[in-house]
């Protein structure tokens, strides 16, 4: 399964994941501390310029950006209709800034690098007995089985179409769930054998 990471190198690709995450978290939080449209507008313009400066790296996120713009338009239209245009602008500017920063981070940081940061952040939890190092294994298993279960779904759908001439739809959910639960038992047995617990 591919991530939204962009292979087109940009200047932001070279910045360490932890630094980007910290800066974006601080900037994202700071904009909720102010209600000044001028300050928020300056922030939003800065975020838009940062996003544009990534060049071709932003291409994989076209749909995401379009959905953010659509949501912004709807919010603005709604608030203008309710005669609260200023409130609408505040929401839209915050939404644009935070979303573009989040998308920029996702586009320019490999999933593995973000995972490393996350594991480091969670490492204090090991002191109270939570096994944070298993997060990577769980994510890997999840992605592996996402593809597997999607293939299972398509097989069930094909079989249903052959039998009835119609798409399976919601009636396939129960057999898919049962197959998932029985797979979980098999995987659990294998893990138990390998990990000994």
């Amino acid at each position: 399964m591919g991530s939204l990471y962009s292979e087109h190198r940009s200047w932001l690709h070279g910045v360490p994941a932890a630094v980007k995450l910290l800066l974006f978290a601080l900037l994202g939080t700071a904009q909720y501390a102010t209600h000044s449209i001028t300050v928020l507008a300056v922030g939003a313009v800065a975020c838009i310029l940062l996003f544009i400066s990534l060049g071709r790296a932003v291409l994989p996120a076209r749909k995401l950006v379009a959905s953010v713009l659509l949501a912004s338009l709807l919010i603005l239209a709604f608030h203008t209709y309710m005669q609260q245009a200023a409130l609408g602008w505040i929401s839209v500017l915050r939404l644009l800034s935070a979303s573009l920063l989040g998308i920029a981070l996702t586009l320019t940081t490999r999933t593995g690098d973000l995972l490393d940061v996350l594991e480091r952040l969670l490492s204090p939890l090991q002191r109270i007995g939570i096994k944070t190092e298993r997060l990577a294994l769980q994510l890997a298993m999840m992605l592996r089985f996402t593809e597997h279960f999607f293939v299972v779904w398509k097989r069930l759908d094909e079989a249903h179409r052959l039998r009835t001439g119609k798409a399976g739809g919601l009636s396939l959910l129960a057999p898919l769930t049962i197959q998932m639960l029985t797979s979980a038992r098999r995987v659990a047995d294998t893990l138990e054998m390998r990990m000994g617990e």
Binding site: G102, I103, L137, L143, A188
Partner: protein
């Protein structure tokens, strides 16, 4: 709780939730679309119990936050947690937790009882809790008033009630197909 069994169940259920995002949405006769991922929240609570359901939701949301396009429509990344609908997403783990708690507390000795309990648990956990968090998100992020957000979320309630019924049907089938399955999530033999 057996560690490797929990690990397998949590990972595979998170995978099932991701598959629900890949399956094309199903349109009802009146044009109301049904995306299956909120049904996944209800099913997680009913089938895994509170703790594992919570872990499965958190694992899925961590994967989304890391940039994997696992939400329906291929959405992912940190940006989705800043959108007006972010409250619903953040509500998923809480919804799954409450659904799991209720399922543990309600009768589930026979497939019929398990199905009725699943309907009640998913209506209160997967619907009420998730929508409550969604309303908070709409108020805080989209700056709607509480009344506007409440009426906005009401539009999705009929579709979600239908999902509660589908969840109950799936639980009924699982109870018949896997009679040794413990819906409280305490044991997995």
């Amino acid at each position: 709780m057996n560690s490797s069994r929990s690990l397998a169940l949590v990972s595979l259920f998170a995978a099932l939730l991701a598959v629900f995002g890949l399956i094309p949405k199903i349109d009802l006769p009146l044009g109301v679309p049904i995306t299956l991922q909120t049904l996944g929240v209800m099913l997680a609570g009913c089938l895994l119990g509170p703790q594992r359901a919570l872990q499965a939701m958190l694992l899925f949301l961590v994967a989304v936050a890391l940039g994997l396009p696992l939400l329906s429509g291929g959405r992912g990344g940190l940006g989705v947690f800043m959108a007006p609908a972010a409250g619903y997403l953040i509500g998923w783990p809480f919804g799954a937790l409450v659904t799991g708690w209720l399922m543990t507390a309600l009768p589930r000795a026979t497939p019929k009882r398990a199905a009725i309990s699943a309907f009640v648990a998913s209506a209160l956990g997967g619907l009420l809790v998730v929508h409550a968090m969604g309303v908070v998100g709409l108020v805080k992020i989209a700056n709607l008033s509480w009344t506007q957000a409440f009426f906005g979320t009401l539009a999705f309630v009929p579709g979600d009630l239908l999902k509660c019924a589908v969840c109950a049907m799936v639980v009924h089938t699982v109870a018949r197909g896997l009679p040794d399955w413990n819906f409280g999530g305490r044991a997995l033999k």
